[in-house]
C-alpha cells in the first residue's frame, strides 16, 4: 500500500504465505484493484453484532430454562427478541431495494449463505420475540416453550453463519479466513450474550452468564489469533489501517472486560462495567472483520500474490513430480 506507483513493469516482490516457491513477483494494471469493494454499508457489521447477540442469547435462555434459572432465561430471551428485532431492519436497509426484502425468501439455496441465513433469521427472530412475549405476558405458555426451544436451537446457527457469509466471497482476507471466522463470531456472540445478561440479571442468578462471557472471550481471542497466524501476509488488513485499529480495540476491550467480569463475581457494578467493555469489544470485532474485507479487496497484491504462488507450485509439481 506504500508504493505510490505500481504501473505494469514495476515488479515488486511480495512474499506469499505457506509458499514453498521462491518469492513471487507481482504485476498489476496501474495498481488498480482486481476485485470490486463490497457495496455493504454500516448496517452489515451491526447486523453481524445483533444477529450474534440474538443467537447466543437465545441459547443462553434455553440453557437457563433447562437449568431452572428462570430469571436468567427471561432476560436472555428478552435480549434475543430485541436483538433479533433490530437485526431484521438492519439486513433490510442495507439492500439496494429494501422493499424487496422478502425476495430473500423466494428460494432456499445452500450455495448462498445469505439465503440460508435469511431463513434462519426469519425463523429465529419471530421465535425469540414470541418466547420473550409469552414469558413476559404469561400468555400461550406451551407455544412460548416451543418458541424457546426453536430459538435456542437455531441461535448458534444465526450467530455463526455470518462468518461463512463473508468467507464465501473472493475477498482474500475473508475467504482464506473461512475456517476461523465462524469461531471468531461464535466467541464474540457468546461473550456479548453473556455480557447483556450480566447487565440485566441480578448477580445471584447471573453466574452462568458471567462464565459465558469468559468462555466466549477466550474463544474469540483464540480464534482471532489462530486466524491471523494462518493468514500470514494475507492477514495484513487485520493489522493495518482502520481494521487493524478496530481489531486491537476488540482484543483490548474483550480481554479487559472478560477479566473484569471474572474478577467482579457478584459485585454488580464492577461486572456491569466489564460487560459493557465486552459488548464494545464484540462490536469492534465485527467491524474489524468488515473493514478488513474492504482493505483486502482494494489491493491487487492480495489477489495476484497467492494466485501466482499457486500457479508456480503447480508448475513446479509438473516439472518435478514428487513421488507419492
Amino acid at each position: 500500500m506504500s508504493a505510490p506507483d505500481r504501473r505494469d513493469g514495476d515488479r515488486r516482490g511480495t512474499r506469499v504465505r505457506g509458499s514453498v516457491v521462491p518469492e513471487a513477483e507481482f504485476r498489476s494494471y496501474y495498481g488498480r484493484p482486481i476485485l470490486k469493494p463490497p457495496v455493504w454499508t454500516w448496517e452489515v457489521p451491526w447486523y453481524f453484532f445483533a444477529g450474534g447477540l440474538a443467537g447466543a442469547s437465545a441459547s443462553l435462555g434455553l440453557g437457563a430454562r433447562l437449568a431452572g434459572n428462570h430469571p436468567l432465561a427471561r432476560n436472555a430471551f428478552t435480549a434475543a427478541g430485541a436483538a433479533g428485532t433490530v437485526a431484521v431492519p438492519l439486513l433490510a436497509s442495507d439492500l439496494g431495494r429494501p422493499e424487496r426484502f422478502l425476495y430473500m425468501l423466494r428460494m432456499f439455496k445452500v450455495t448462498s449463505p445469505l439465503s440460508v441465513g435469511s431463513w434462519i433469521l426469519a425463523t429465529m427472530a419471530p421465535a425469540a420475540v414470541g418466547a420473550a412475549a409469552s414469558d413476559r405476558l404469561g400468555v400461550l405458555p406451551r407455544l412460548g416453550r416451543a418458541a424457546e426451544v426453536a430459538a435456542g436451537l437455531l441461535g448458534p446457527a444465526l450467530a455463526t453463519y455470518t462468518g461463512t457469509l463473508v468467507a464465501d466471497t473472493a475477498v482474500p482476507a475473508w475467504h482464506e479466513a473461512g475456517r476461523e471466522l465462524p469461531f471468531v463470531f461464535a466467541g464474540s456472540a457468546a461473550a456479548s450474550a453473556g455480557a447483556a445478561a450480566v447487565l440485566s440479571t441480578p448477580a445471584a442468578d447471573a453466574g452462568p452468564a458471567r462464565r459465558l462471557v469468559v468462555a466466549g472471550a477466550l474463544l474469540e481471542l483464540g480464534a482471532a489469533g489462530a486466524m491471523e497466524r494462518r493468514l500470514g501476509e494475507l492477514g495484513e488488513p487485520y493489522r493495518q489501517g482502520p481494521a487493524g485499529r478496530l481489531a486491537r480495540a476488540a482484543k483490548a476491550c474483550t480481554a479487559a472486560g472478560a477479566g473484569l467480569v471474572a474478577a467482579a463475581g457478584r459485585r454488580r457494578a464492577l461486572a456491569a462495567a466489564g460487560a459493557a467493555l465486552v459488548l464494545a469489544g464484540s462490536a469492534c470485532e465485527r467491524w474489524a472483520v468488515y473493514k478488513a474485507g474492504f482493505q483486502s479487496a482494494a489491493d491487487p497484491k492480495y489477489v495476484v500474490g497467492p494466485q501466482r504462488a499457486r500457479l508456480a507450485a503447480r508448475q513446479a509439481e509438473q516439472d518435478d513430480p514428487v513421488e507419492p
Binding site: 505494469d8 513493469g9 504485476r27 498489476s28 494494471y29 496501474y30 488498480r32 482486481i34 476485485l35 470490486k36 463490497p38 457495496v39 447466543a56 440453557g63 433447562l66 437449568a67 442495507d94 439492500l95 439496494g96 431495494r97 429494501p98 424487496r100 425476495y103 430473500m104 423466494r106 428460494m107 439455496k109 445452500v110 450455495t111 448462498s112 449463505p113 445469505l114 441461535g155 448458534p156 446457527a157 455463526t160 462468518g163 461463512t164 468467507a167 464465501d168 473472493a170 475467504h175 473461512g178 476461523e180 465462524p182 469461531f183 466467541g187 456472540a189 457468546a190 453473556g194 453466574g207 452462568p208 462464565r211 459465558l212 468462555a215 474463544l219 495476484v304 494466485q307 501466482r308 500457479l311
Partner: protein, 257 residues
C-alpha cells in the same frame, strides 16, 4: 444457432486496436447509463478504468517499454466471463442471477433486491451495484439479441474481429489454431486465458488470447470460484455453532452461582 449449444466470446487481444467501438455499442444497445462524471484517468487512453454496473465492456490500454523491442501497446476488451462455475450466481440469495439456455449468466432486474452479495463474490470484479438504482448489473451477453438469433452488439461492432462470438466449442478450436499461428510467427508470449475447463471457474464462456500475464491486464492469474470451498466453509460454521452450544452448556455446569 444450434439449440442448446453454449454460446460465448473469444476475445483475441492480439488484433484489438483499442477503438472502444465495443464499449459504445454495448452502451447504445443495452441503454446502459453514464458510469460517472467525465474524467481523465491518466492511465494511457483508458478513461473507462474498469468494468462495473454501467460498464459492461472495458478496453484496457497497457504501454510497455521493452529494452529489446522498444514500446509495445497491449489493448484488450474485457467483459463478464460468464463462468461455468459462477460464484455470483451461486451466492445470489434471490435467484435473480440465472443461467440462460445459451449457458450465459444473466441478472433478472425484476428479481434483484440489491443485496450486493454477488459483488465481492466475483473473482474478476465484474458485477457491481448501480447506486442510484440499487440493483446489480453486468453484461448479459446480449441475451435479447441472442434470442433473436443476432450476435451481441460488441462483437457486431468490433472492426477487427478481436471480439468473436459463437459456439464455445468452435471458438475454443479457433483459439487454439490462432495461438499456434502466432507462435509460428514468433509471438511466443501469446497464450489463452480461461479456456480450460479444468481451471478454478470451470472454464469461462468468455475467454481471451493475451500477450502477457493476465494481471498485466487487471485480470486474476488463477481465479477460483469461492463456492468451491463451501463444503469446508459450512463445516466450519457447523463446528463453530456446536462450540457455541457447548460453551453455553459448560456455563451452566457450575450451577447458578
Amino acid at each position: 444457432m444450434t439449440a442448446g449449444a453454449r454460446m460465448g466470446f473469444f476475445t483475441d487481444t492480439s488484433v484489438c486496436i483499442g477503438c472502444k467501438a465495443c464499449e459504445v455499442a454495448c452502451k447504445e444497445w443495452n441503454l446502459v447509463p453514464q458510469d460517472g462524471p467525465l474524467s481523465l484517468s491518466a492511465n494511457s487512453y483508458d478513461n473507462t478504468v474498469a468494468l462495473g454496473a454501467s460498464t459492461w465492456r472495458h478496453v484496457a490500454f497497457v504501454e510497455q517499454q521493452r529494452d529489446d523491442q522498444g514500446l509495445r501497446w497491449l489493448m484488450s476488451s474485457d467483459v463478464c466471463k460468464h463462468c461455468s462455475s459462477a460464484a455470483c450466481l451461486e451466492v445470489c440469495p434471490t435467484g435473480a442471477l440465472f443461467r440462460t439456455e445459451f449457458g450465459t449468466v444473466v441478472v433478472q432486474p425484476d428479481i434483484c433486491n440489491g443485496c450486493g452479495y454477488c459483488v465481492p463474490a466475483c473473482p474478476f470484479g465484474v458485477i457491481d451495484r448501480r447506486e442510484d438504482d440499487g440493483r446489480a448489473f453486468k453484461c448479459t451477453l446480449c441475451y435479447d439479441r441472442l434470442k433473436d438469433g443476432m450476435e451481441p452488439a460488441c462483437a457486431h461492432a468490433c472492426p477487427t474481429d478481436s471480439i468473436q462470438f459463437g459456439q464455445l466449442e468452435e471458438l475454443r478450436e479457433r483459439a487454439q489454431r490462432r495461438v499456434a499461428t502466432l507462435h509460428e510467427a514468433g509471438v511466443a508470449e501469446a497464450r489463452l486465458y480461461l479456456e480450460d475447463e479444468a481451471d478454478g471457474i470451470g472454464g469461462a464462456g468468455a475467454f481471451f488470447l493475451l500477450l502477457d500475464e493476465p494481471e498485466v491486464y487487471g485480470l486474476p492469474p488463477d481465479p477460483v470460484s469461492t463456492t468451491r470451498d463451501l463444503p469446508t466453509l459450512w463445516r466450519a460454521a457447523a463446528l463453530a455453532a456446536g462450540t457455541l452450544a457447548a460453551a453455553v452448556a459448560v456455563a451452566f455446569a457450575g450451577g447458578r452461582r
